[in-house]
Symmetry: C2
Subunit: 709 residues, 2 copies
Amino acid sequence: MSGQRNLTPLFQPGSIAVIGASSNPVSISGRPLKYLKQGFDGEIYPVNPRYESVQGLKCYPSIKDVPGEVDTALIGVGIQRLFPILEECADKGVKSCIILSSGFAEADQEGETYQKQLKEFADRTGIAVCGPNCIGVVNLPLKALASFSPVFEHAAYQTGKVALVSQSGALGHGMFTIAQEAGVGFNYIISSGNEVDLTAGDYLDFLVDDPDTDMILGYLEGWRDGKRFFDLAARAKEKKKPLVFLKVGKSQVGQKAALSHTAALTGSNATYGTVFRQMGVVEAGDLDELIDYAVGFLPKKYPKGGNLAIVTASGGAGILTADKAEEYGLNVPELEGETRRKLEEIIPSFGSAMNPVDITGQVLNDPAMFKKAMNTLLEDPDIHMLAVMLATSSGVLAEQLANDIADVATSTAKPVFAIWSSSFKFANPGPQTLQERGVPCYQSHGRACRVMGALYRYSEFLCSETPTGKEIGRAETAAALEILQQSSGNLGEYSAKKVLQHYGISVTREIIATARDEAVMVAEQIGYPVCMKIESPDILHKSEAKAIKLNINNNKEAALAFEEVLANARSYKPEAVINGVLVQEMVSGGQEVILGVNNDPQFGPVILFGLGGIFVEILQDVSRRVLPLSKAEAYRMIREIKAYPLLVGARGKEVLDVDALADALVKVGQLASDLEGEMAELDINPLLVLPDGQGVKVVDALMIRGNNT
Amino acid sequence: MSGQRNLTPLFQPGSIAVIGASSNPVSISGRPLKYLKQGFDGEIYPVNPRYESVQGLKCYPSIKDVPGEVDTALIGVGIQRLFPILEECADKGVKSCIILSSGFAEADQEGETYQKQLKEFADRTGIAVCGPNCIGVVNLPLKALASFSPVFEHAAYQTGKVALVSQSGALGHGMFTIAQEAGVGFNYIISSGNEVDLTAGDYLDFLVDDPDTDMILGYLEGWRDGKRFFDLAARAKEKKKPLVFLKVGKSQVGQKAALSHTAALTGSNATYGTVFRQMGVVEAGDLDELIDYAVGFLPKKYPKGGNLAIVTASGGAGILTADKAEEYGLNVPELEGETRRKLEEIIPSFGSAMNPVDITGQVLNDPAMFKKAMNTLLEDPDIHMLAVMLATSSGVLAEQLANDIADVATSTAKPVFAIWSSSFKFANPGPQTLQERGVPCYQSHGRACRVMGALYRYSEFLCSETPTGKEIGRAETAAALEILQQSSGNLGEYSAKKVLQHYGISVTREIIATARDEAVMVAEQIGYPVCMKIESPDILHKSEAKAIKLNINNNKEAALAFEEVLANARSYKPEAVINGVLVQEMVSGGQEVILGVNNDPQFGPVILFGLGGIFVEILQDVSRRVLPLSKAEAYRMIREIKAYPLLVGARGKEVLDVDALADALVKVGQLASDLEGEMAELDINPLLVLPDGQGVKVVDALMIRGNNT
């Protein structure tokens, strides 16, 4: 990443040099020239020592011979010739370079060397470098088509305020053609290539602040500067600029090996999903989903709630939409009072004024019914969104209905979606009219509902508080840090709990005993029943070592237990450093849960929550969050797991202290943030959530030192 | 349902009368005539007393005046005039009627009366009646367009061997236009309307046996004769004729109220999914999915395994496809040996001979690379399917690539799918060429992979054994039935277990005691520890009544427990009939599971399996099957739940007797089948699965009498 570069010359060039310009308009170095000539208003400078003129334009032997300033140099020459040319660009004062050439890290080891050389060049000269191995950067309104993408062979395209950043050139440009067909107009299309200098983060950074961009689509294979994303996403939220991303590579990212339980579940891939959800990214699962979201988010209308009204002339379409609405988290509320009464006046007796509102095939005789029913529903303050279905209407009727729908849709602040479930070719000019008038129109009920569901969640996200990390007292942080830094290796139960205590998290009463008699005395002091556990930084899995003894009820048992725990630990790992035996109160009741922290290499600390044992390991019923973690978000995190009812009195269980649990999560979040450079993993397993009002208690904990990033 | 009717005259009419024929070609009674005139080769008889001729055809005053035989009468008259006309049809000997008229049960109570009258007419005359409130039945190859659907306004359509049965006229015909655009050719389109006489089951029945039909698509809102579906689906399997269904109404079907735990989880909607999966139905979640499946299943190529090879010129497309393949249950195996070596010869060094196979942008210079790589992969016996990606190719190159791909695809028995991720308008003639040459071509990676996943599972289904209900000895069934029939109400634990024992399912040792001393004696006989439970047909929830006592260790405790259980039961429900106190061995170890049976109103007994308690009630981690249940299927049922690892030694647990569990499931299946008319519900909760080799044991059970259907 190169946050320091000036990207304006790349995004909004006044002049473009095409180095290695070819007179063959189908070649990689010939196409950009051909496309630029279609209408770019700035200066175009072909550079090639072999020609006097190329494709009818004066050609310069070297970039140094170009008369004016050069905002962007587009370079498609062979890798062998690249570096001398780059130096010439630097000499000339070129402001940005787009390198189309391949043969870098994607090819072989030699290419990796070239890649390092290129990085060195960018850092030394400060020139913003896009690529290599990319297909170019395009500013459509300026017709600055600095790309060899074949999609510009046909000059017609629709401009707009949507930008696309793609880590795959072919997929990005292919998607562009599909999106265009769906009526999405673009301003920028960036193919980021190998991201040797400028990264996806740099492009997004620019676009989030760009006043000409309303929405940013991203095709991402991996993030090179994850933590920077938090700030970027926060700015996008502030500007209500949706980020719609497709993240691929989910089947390929390797699993990080880790010492503690939770690590295996907090791999990088899981983190992307967590970050995206938490930061309001609309995550698409596929290219068509990405385009669907773009279409539905374009009108910039955000519903004030999740209540959907459905208007249909076909009962079947209404049922299918109701199914899908529920599937994607929307409500289809029953209609009442005034709204219902008014609808009953509009709709024939054999229709339905319930929701879905079925105006029946009678619409053929009275096409205005759609409009009337829609307006009635939109007047109802409890209706937040509206979907209207069409199927086999075509020709003049289709056009009339489309215009009626568009009239309604464009005069309300509530999102209105059309679902036209027939071939658009058959139904046109219906769907086309809707598209032209800015009404999202889908062929599929499910796809429309998926977008409406996302629109609702995005709208909720926009209204949510933006969490900020609350500072804990400096003294506490310092004390915690000291424990961490004094420890030579990982922190076992006793020390880890001391750190947690400094953050105000309750732990079990416990004392380390180093001799049998001391253990008995301490046990009496704590009060029976107690348990005993080996205290050793070298024995992380005490159960495996049989170095743990529960339910000790009296002095005699205590004495025996001390010897047994010690003996088992020694035979399990003779070389282990043993600090003593931890004598601990037995806490019962409540529900065991796990809190964990892992450092994601891209996004920093990730907090994990779940019930213990099989719930985490076998059912993988966990929730995750990145930092900072607000209390409201901690509550959401708790409610997110499927087993949540067990915490609040399901099956005759006691209602537990969920508030204290949320509190503990927030504190663990603060701790993870404060200690990020020092602590690689934290595993509180279990934390006991006691009955309501009685708080929580850490029963066991483990802290792995180091910074995994 | 009307299994007895002859449907051939309806599906393949030689003559069609249009009753109430209108000279207005846009009216509901005018359109069918217009469409039939476009090319129907049989006789067309307009009937209307008001005209001499209609739309240029001789018109008859009454159906009785029609000179020839009438296979189908299409009737769109008002409901008031309908019945006299129907009687005339019967007199004339008309073989089938399609009733377009509405105003029946969908409208009001009066309409319900008409509906009964229509049913009576069909039953009395034996005439096959389609509708009412439908939009017609269409035989495309015969151009017998007995429908008023506006989609036939444009006469061009593609015929083929796909049939569509739709319970929604508008959605069905809308979908038809989309499918046509995707290159799917149809023979029949049936809009079934209110299904007063002929039901979806009747149409499917005909189509399964129809030699001109290769695939059946269905849009279903509800099934009126579910049990018939089993036979129909078995025949479709035998003929390798895919059934591709979209079932809607999932958010609306009411939940059946029930006495036992499992009932709430075995509602009708869950059953549809169960039946579809078990009977090999390809279930679509939306209209576009339905069409996707039709496109992918058309070539009738079924993979011999789930290994997918991916060939791409864009790295990004390869990654996305690998993600999606995994998501939909396919493998993307690494390539080895000969295949890898050969690919390395074909592909440039900076490409990848791994899987996804990336032939890189070099394909522009050597378009034959696609063909070569594909052929190499298809020669590998470990590769079962192939997906090839294209993105921004267009024009002549696109056509050449499409033809190359089609050459390969049409010369292999393995399924080959193309994914062309750009606007088809942009990429044509590429995608169109593929479509015309019968190669499934999708724009979306995910949608293509979803279909390939379904193709693989369907292929596995075709190879699976078809289970048949094994008969248990008559004597055992008779004995079980006797217990059931002797009981006046529901069967409590003791009697229910007796029934289970007759089916060879082990239960706990137990004896009913009616006096304190007897209880003590019996407890000694069984051996301590024992438990005691009230035995009463009126107290189903023994825990709630506190009429259960565990861990009784000696005579004294036994005497006390007897009194306590009895007293608690009496105070809980003074009017309850009490048969005594059940004294039972305490079994420990193993894992508790639930086996349940519910009668689905449509599909008969449904077997449910899950771990007990929260696994079923909160996590809803259950699997379901309809009958008959083979042992192989019982094993699949057990493996299907998420908590399955707990049965086979996860987290240091013992490996349990899963074989005995599968056995018990099969036996419960037999019992459910034998006792279907007598038993509404069975709830074995818990069944204890003991360590491997030690079998299973029913600890508690409850049987609800009656037939819920």
